[in-house]
Symmetry: D2
Subunit: 307 residues, 4 copies
């Protein structure tokens, strides 16, 4: 339960003071502002600010194409055209600022997406809270045997119980030690110096929660979502991406629809794959041996056309 | 006079429909929205959208410093601290989208600032208007003799008149030819093929106007303004930067004040410069010969401490 | 013929002094270094420096996957896997620096690719040469009637001749005027002030040549090549991209092969496209009406599976 | 002692095979290639590849300034001019690729510098080694009382001993548990499923070592070094920055000299600071009260002119 009564009161206060603006307004996004969408056991995503809407994407596109646009297209058709033809700059004209609370090991994956602005909670200045991600037992799985990264079969209940014991025990102990190190009172109640926070934090494991403001344009957000809402992404980051997907669907419904069709639900075929496909459509029986592909490529190709 | 009655009507319409929002609102920026600020003879800058205000900068900074901030500082003090200590990420949390109409040779300088999003009018799709930047006679100056880039003494009236004749004449002729090439009717009134726009545009000189949407965060905008509102910048881009400075001063007054004090009005001293300064403050008479600096460096150093 | 005897002598001198290095060396790239590959009538591309080779891509990938890589793959297989799965960071570990001479209207398209480093010849400091791109008559085509950007049917010989007359005449006249404006002697032989270069340049048309150093990593170069070596790109930038493709094929043959198969020769299918495809492979006759696609999408889909 | 005999043998092998190249070669950098410079207790920095040298910076600058450069300057003078006037693009024409082994909490600070390419060891694919940063006792200090981030007085020997006990104990225990969780054999020697690596890693504290390839251009590297080799940077990242400073000094001695003088050893004065300075140079006694500065600003100003 990540939202405290104090936080809820703050959210309510922020939401109780509408003001007038002449800017583009997305009603779908106004409904989200400041509210926290729970993710994992202590995390959340919430929208702090946004710029633009579906109409703003079209407006920017029409600056580029000006009077050269032959036929008047409706906004949705134009947005689908832009997405299909990789015209990314109009999507860059929308921007969103999110407040995210997330485990450190998720933050480390997330930050690899460099084209975004970040303000993270500083453990040099401030003291981290005692909040750790402890997976649900159902999420505990063995190392995959077909995929070098990723999860395979579920652990047995006994195996899962042992893992949870370890995670909970180490989280509690390392945090106790963190507090002891930075404390200015010894366990015996005597005055002592507190270790600098920038040093003490090194004892904390990667499932502790951090938080940040993350600001990104819609084009780069779609790129993030394509990779992180994908079935191959680690579950713990995927749930954040999925929460954001729902927000984006409310913010820019036409752009999100095009994204779902052309990116999330689409697939890239190689030159070899296209060649096989054309042969198959003409009635030829193509096998891995006659495809020119490696076994791995063929398996993935079959996944694309059969699933 | 860059604004036509049609454009003014469009601006009035956009400004006549305030809507409610829960986002941060900058009243100073609301007053600017959609209005065109004239720049040069046919150019303008106008604000299309914005995100954030002074308070949003502080809010982002407080995420980072959290409970570690010892004393409650007022927003202005915090913003000055951030600017002084090069903490750039909170300023990245504000964003602005401008519509700019500008000569192509100015656009070519401007685009070197890469950390921004751009949608430019496409001369492949569309036909450029017959609008050229023709400098005022008072702006016509000779190549500087002390600075390899830049302007020196004013031209004589006769020299200036000849330059304006050339610029006007070539603009008119090349645009006539552009129109002739793309036209589907010959000068004699017969049907002919129109040359592809993507080819015909190559005949147009660099003082023709283009336009774009330009979106940038406040940190990168400050960097742009520091370089382009500087006295060494070419006049024709400086007037755009100065127009934007006024907009930013209304948008985020505290951040703009800190920017003026620490960036625009400040100066960087080298290790050698600091050494000279300390010696001078102790009463030593330091000359170029005893400074360890080259003549050019010394001249610039004198400019910093004397002006 | 873009290379003067002086330039050739400089190239020969640079190529005559091999030195020893412990870095990764690509023999294919060593053969290109400093040589100018002619493009258009006065342009060129030449390699000034490079970093990395196919093995460096694999080495970087193996840092990431470390001991987790189950089976030892050969380099080519690993590179194909990385390309297929959009693992872009290992390709970012290679870098190339090119010297390019190109018309200004091509430079304006090129510079939109922001993730690169650029040093362009400055017309504020220096005087541009009298070199203009004049298309071959065979390249002169009408505005396309099916595509809002792009070229359609060839011009007639008479139409083409008129266009070439215009382009040549305006190039000569505007350059004469440029020279006159910056000159410190009047046409009558008397002393006069020369207009500042930063102003005089505005009279020059977009087919004048400029030049720059352009440095980019291999991942971003592939992105550039996919868009600019594509059949839909304007001919005048496509020929530069094609020249660079040949250089890259010699530099990193395995990576270039994977790029050709998965990017240049591949295609993206939408969710709707995949659905149609699966139905067709099962024997169903699918038409635009039963596809769920718009006419434009269907036409493009047919292009992908039939061509 | 971070280098194993196997690693040393690999370095020796890489250094034993010089090859010929026509590229720019920096002898200072050739001497560094592949060798590991030890940092902290188990970390290192080593140069894997580089592009360019001092001459390459000048060559790129001369492309921009071309024939407009009035006087022939020597390379060092030109480089100092570029640095002094914030002409950053020529410095972007040099690139370096480093292999760095570093604690995770240092990596988290480092990665905030976004304009670089990174390939990090993946704990989803691979198993992390049992290597933790344990500070030297002399590095253990209390939270600063004058600076919200940073260190103050040294801990007492007893306090330090307790901290080291905690850090060592928790590192050993959490790593034992990490191994147990991923193991396919139970402590009792029976077969069990191994927890997926992507989950097990969450138990590891922030002082465990990771490693990456980090590639950056010289301009952005200087920006990194200015912030991270600064006295206010955390010691554990500063020692990496200092090690890199020495490498850069050998690679591009002229550029590094200019960087030391204008960036590392220089200081920025605000408009208010410059005003005070000019008054002081004219003999006025200026105090905080008459300076127009806040107490914090005045203290920093005094530091700049007195130190």
């Amino acid at each position: 339960m990540p939202i405290t009564p104090d936080q809820q009161a703050e959210i309510d206060a922020l939401r109780s003071q509408p003001r007038q603006t002449l800017r583009a307004v997305s009603e779908g996004m106004e409904a989200h502002l400041y509210k926290a969408i729970p993710v994992l056991d202590h995390g959340f995503v919430r929208v702090i600010d946004y710029m633009g809407d579906d109409a703003a994407i079209c407006q920017a596109a029409r600056v580029s194409y000006g009077k050269g646009t032959k036929s008047v297209q409706n906004d949705e058709g134009l947005i689908r055209y832009l997405m299909r033809h990789w015209h990314s700059t109009p999507f860059e004209m929308c921007e969103v600022k999110l407040h995210v609370k997330l485990p450190v090991f998720v933050a480390r994956q997330w930050i690899r997406h460099r084209t975004a602005n970040v303000n993270e909670y500083s453990a040099r200045y401030s003291i981290l809270d005692r909040e750790f991600y402890i997976p649900e037992a159902s999420q505990l799985a063995a190392q995959s045997v077909v995929n070098n990264q990723g999860r395979g079969a579920a652990l047995t209940p006994a195996e899962a119980a042992r893992v949870l014991d370890i995670l909970k025990g180490d989280a509690a102990r390392t945090y106790d030690h963190y507090e002891e190190m930075i404390s200015e009172t010894s366990p015996e109640g005597e005055a002592k110096q507190g270790l600098a926070r920038e040093l003490a934090r090194m004892n904390l494991p990667a499932n502790i929660y951090t938080q940040w403001y993350w600001k990104v344009d819609l084009h780069n957000l779609f790129h993030f979502l394509r990779l992180r809402a994908d079935a191959h992404a680690q579950y713990e980051i995927r749930v954040y991406a999925e929460a954001i997907c729902k927000v984006v669907a409310d913010w820019v419904p036409a752009a999100y629809g095009a994204f779902e069709d052309y990116r999330m639900g689409g697939a890239v075929l190689s030159a070899k794959g296209l060649d096989c496909l054309r042969r198959m459509l003409k009635g030829e029986v193509v096998t891995q041996e006659t495809s020119g592909m490696s076994k791995g490529e063929w398996r993935e190709f079959e996944g694309v056309i059969d699933r």
